[in-house]
Amino acid sequence: MRCAEVVTQLRGLASSLGANAEGSEWYLFGSILRDDAYAADIDLMVLCGSDEQADSLRRAIDPDCLGLPIHLAFLTYREAAEVSAVQLQNARPIFPMLFSETQVFRARTTIVADRSR
């Protein structure tokens, strides 16, 4: 599976969970980020506001819903900060999307066009 395809599918999954996923942050890490053709699973780290949210998301996410099994790691924000989880695992944020990739592309294009005038 290609990384871009996985990101799209996971964003769709996160959005479909509605209030369950509100306030959580989702990060990809591991072999799938490198577009490794032999990736055997999808490493997904989800940071949660509380233990209850972590337990609820564990129940809500089907690890077989994509083409490869999802390997889930849930940490509260406090735990993630304690062990520098995002930094040490070189994790890439995928949800929530503050800006769509199209918006970012358009903004960059506009800046480049403005500079060239």
Binding site: A40, R58, D64, G67, H71, F74
Partner: protein
């Protein structure tokens, strides 16, 4: 097992894992081929809760015998007797994601989870240990010369969180030790607290080796 689970697996192997399903045996095992040309037989189970000995034993009675047995859904447990039977038949077990890992070995039947093999060998060599056995695919029963037997759950996590500990309790029931499977990363303070709450200890491998002697 309905053909839909096998069809789903065959489709995922072809579209997402760069493998080819070239045929099916009369027993309905998938014959999976790697781009290198290596091929092997995969039996697909669709057990929802716990894969038991009774589910796997019939797979090894015919003229064709699978090198790999996988189960969908991946979150189902594998019982110790089921695992022992598969290994005794020189075969391997796992989930959909393990098919490509097993294929890469060039001898799918010898494929083993590297982490679990490492822990089993290391624990077995401890001077106070008389035996190690699978209780579930991630739970080992450790018999000791001195001191009671210990149930050890191996959590496949870079950083072990409190949720990892609660999830292990939900999945496997009682355990004495929850072991962080990665040699990197850390155990969070809340994970240690969560383990203490269920009467267990959250340990790294180094801590476990010390603990086995006590």
């Amino acid at each position: 097992l309905s053909n839909s689970v096998r069809d789903w697996v065959a489709d995922k192997l072809t579209t997402d894992q760069a493998l080819e399903v070239v045929s099916r045996t009369p027993e309905d095992f998938l014959v999976v081929k790697q781009p290198s040309g290596y091929s092997f037989m995969v039996a697909v189970l669709g057990i929802k809760n716990v894969v038991e000995h009774a589910h796997v034993a019939p797979l090894f009675t015919g003229s064709n015998q699978p090198e790999l047995v996988i189960n969908v859904p991946s979150k189902a447990l594998w019982s110790g007797p089921a695992i022992d039977h598969i290994h005794a038949a020189s075969a391997a077990f796992g989930t959909l994601g393990d098919v490509s890992r097993a294929a890469r070995t060039g001898d799918a039947g010898s494929y083993r989870n590297k982490n679990m093999s490492f822990f089993i060998n290391a624990i077995r060599q401890h001077s106070n240990v008389t035996g190690v056995s699978y209780i579930y695919e991630r739970v080992l029963g450790v018999q000791r010369r001195s001191g009671p037997s210990l149930n050890v759950v191996v959590v496949d996590a870079y950083n072990m969180s409190a949720e990892d500990v609660r999830n292990a309790k939900d999945r496997y029931g009682h355990f004495d030790i929850v072991l962080k499977g990665s040699s990197y990363g850390a155990i969070t303070y809340h994970a240690e607290q969560a383990a203490a709450l269920v009467g267990a200890e959250a340990l790294t491998f180094k801590d476990l080796i010390r603990r086995l002697g006590k």
